[in-house]
Amino acid sequence: MPGWSEHVGTAVALPRDNIDTDQLIPARFMSTPRAQGYGNFLLHDLRRDAHDALDETFPLNTCPDASILVAGRNFGSGSSREAAVYALLDAGFRVVIAPSFGDIFAANAVNNGLLPAQVTPEVAADLAELLASGPREMTVTLESREILCGATRVSFDVKDGWRTKLINGWDDIDLTLDHAARIAAFRDDRRSAAPWAWPRRPGAQYAR
């Protein structure tokens, strides 16, 4: 996953609270292999009517090239399905701006290079207001934690560790394997100090 430090793109507003991950991608699409692309599943049941036709008035449908989403409180709450992030990414999104995010969603987003930019409810409302008449260009800068839209400049919040990871495009597994010796030592200590933490009936040997 490549890192990034600044994103310039088109922003669109979906000023609703509690867009949970079941709405971001309904469960019935989740058996699809990622290679097939998840973009069409994004917010599927909100964007389409019962006959699968796109609802022309739905904000995302008015701007298919948007890459920044301004949303309401508690975005991505609920299920841990990372497919919700895949759907956003495959639909072209790189940044979601909201007053708050589901914890697991936010971690999943960062793991895939999607920025969950947290702003105050007032800032979210102001940005949504700016976009009320239609999509606009925005610049999101990780280093300064700033969002620029026309003459409006606001700041957002993202954990230090997450910001570093997004900028560097780090893969956690590589980082962790640097600590392989400490992990092995920890395991051995735990095994002798807490033998009860290992399953009595062995697991793997029972594999069929």
């Binding site: 609703r16 609270d17 949970d20 079941d22 709405q23 309904p26 469960a27 019935r28 989740m30 058996s31 292999p33 990622r34 049941d45 909100l46 019962a50 508690n74 709450s77 609920g78 299920s79 841990s80 399905r81 990372e82 708050s100 589901g102 914890d103 697991i104 969603f105 971690a107 999943n108 793991n111 895939n112 409810p121 954990k159 230090d160 560790g161 570093t164 956690d172 597994i173 962790t176 394997l177 600590h179 400490r182 992990i183 395991r187 735990r190 807490a194 033998p195 009860w196 933490a197 290992w198 399953p199 009595r200 009936r201 062995p202 697991g203 793997a204 040997q205 029972y206 594999a207 069929r208």
Partner: protein
């Protein structure tokens, strides 16, 4: 003198391998549970050419896509593909798989404790947000995404920032017909679905101590619906009695050592919490949701709120929810007609849940169709030994095999568009039980009462003269 510590502090430090300068900890994972939905993570592992670091600590189960009507997969190509992918991955990496026909198969959060894979003091991860369930036994258990699942598979560790500590203390005695589900829906309604975000919730107080192990699992299970990734309860005699003798749980000398370690697993008397919330058990009534998020819940004696009377930040959401649910503001929630019912899921699919529902249904007929899916094959067998299956069938409900089923609808068990379902599950999100489905969350006993009445109704009169 060490500073007083919370249960969270103790569990965290017992698993912390190292901490980075930015405050993120690398934690050791004692148990990693995977299911069909973990296919993205196995694909990532394959891309890297990595092996599973600790196959002996990794357990796989078929639950999310498990067919509940007939286990045969011939007619279900999409489901067959998900299950065979899991089988292939388990075989490739040498993992113990609880497959569809296994006597120990079931929903991942039901079988963990049931088999003794979950014991106090462990750190448990799973690619499912209701992993908080296992915290009921005094574990640090949390749901993770696919990238994190791949990371745990490859390293048996996970990077996490320590959450803030929050304590929900529930004192007093629950009234008859009131259950752990009602406690959970109450605190979530009070604090909101984001109310505990960024926190690990420890449940304490006399009402929590009085709960059975299974009821504690229901309570911890729903932590995520209040935004908390972690829910936990300090182990006590109830926990020990539950754990002992389970097939994967420690025995003999290991158990002796475990008991000593587990005795330490409680928050010190003067440990400080970042947030404290108190509830009075006696004030909690059987509860049902009316909207499209779990915090949109009222006592069954209450009315569906009027969005105009709600604070501005809740009004819009409430209006949209009422519209989706086809309900009118100001109506009593009781008397809302339902089209069908569902009893099951990792929230309320254990044997005590089925007993509670059966005690309402015994000798009565359901007036709407419905399905009962036990949380595991062992729960199913136990229920059949007790004759509960006959109670459900005689009431007119379908008795099916175990799996996630209508909790998430991945196996094809869905609620049709526009239909209203009284459900013992955990999420009433738009479309959760199928596109356009209208879900009302409540306890299994409340679902049973709704089945008989054909509408949402107070379960308490149904319990008169019966053991609840």
């Amino acid at each position: 003198m060490t500073a007083p510590r919370t249960l969270l502090d103790k569990l965290w430090s017992a698993h912390e391998i190292l901490r980075r300068a930015d405050g993120t900890s690398l934690l050791w994972v004692d148990r990693h549970l995977v299911h069909e939905g973990s296919h993205h993570a196995f694909a990532k592992l394959a891309e890297r050419g990595s092996a599973v670091a600790e196959p002996g600590l990794t357990f796989a189960v078929a639950d999310h896509y498990a067919p509940t009507r007939a286990r045969g997969l011939a007619q279900l190509p999409q489901i067959a593909r998900m299950i065979s992918t899991l089988r292939d991955n388990a075989a490739r990496h040498g993992l113990r798989l609880f497959d569809l026909d296994d006597a120990e198969q079931g929903i991942v959060h039901v079988i963990g404790p049931e088999l003794g894979l979950t014991v106090p003091g462990l750190l448990i991860t799973c690619g499912d947000s209701h992993t908080s369930t296992h915290g009921a036994l005094g574990t640090l258990a949390f749901g993770i995404g696919a990238t994190e699942v791949a990371h745990v598979l490859a390293t048996q560790t996970i990077w996490q920032t320590k959450p803030a500590a929050m304590r929900i203390t529930i004192e007093g005695a629950l009234g008859p017909g009131v259950s752990a589900k009602d406690i959970a829906l109450n605190w979530i309604a009070r604090l909101g679905t984001g109310g505990a975000r960024g926190h690990a919730v420890e449940y304490s107080g006399s009402a929590v101590r009085a709960l059975s192990m299974e009821a504690r699992m229901t309570l911890c299970n729903l932590s995520i619906e209040g935004g908390a990734r972690f829910g936990m309860i300090a182990p006590d005699e109830v926990t020990l009695a539950y754990v002992e003798g389970r097939p994967f749980a420690p025995a003999g000398a290991d158990l002796e050592r475990a008991r000593d370690a587990w005795a330490e697993l409680r928050s010190d008397a003067d440990a400080a919490f970042d947030r404290e919330v108190a509830l009075d058990a006696a004030e909690i009534a059987p509860t049902a949701t009316w909207g499209t998020s779990p915090d949109q819940a009222v006592p069954v004696t209450g009315t569906i709120p009027d969005p105009d009377m709600l604070p501005a930040d809740k009004a819009e959401t409430a209006r949209a929810a009422l519209d989706y649910m086809g309900l009118r503001a100001g109506q009593p929630i009781a008397g809302t007609r339902v089209d069908q019912v569902f009893i099951g899921s990792c929230t309320n699919g254990r044997i005590e849940d089925l007993r509670a529902a059966a005690s309402v249904l015994a000798g009565r007929r359901a007036t709407v169709p419905g399905m009962v899916s036990p949380g595991s094959a062992q729960v199913k067998a136990q229920a059949e030994r007790e004759g509960l299956d006959r109670v459900f069938v005689q009431a007119g409900l379908d008795w099916v095999a175990s799996g996630c089923s209508m909790c998430v609808g991945m196996n094809g068990d869905v609620v049709a568009s526009g239909q209203r379902c009284a459900s013992s599950t955990n999420r009433n999100f738009r479309g959760r039980q199928g596109p356009g489905a209208r879900t009302h969350l409540m306890s299994p006993a409340m679902v049973a009462a709704a089945a008989v009445a054909g509408e949402i109704t107070d379960v308490r009169p149904f319990l008169a003269g019966r053991a609840a």
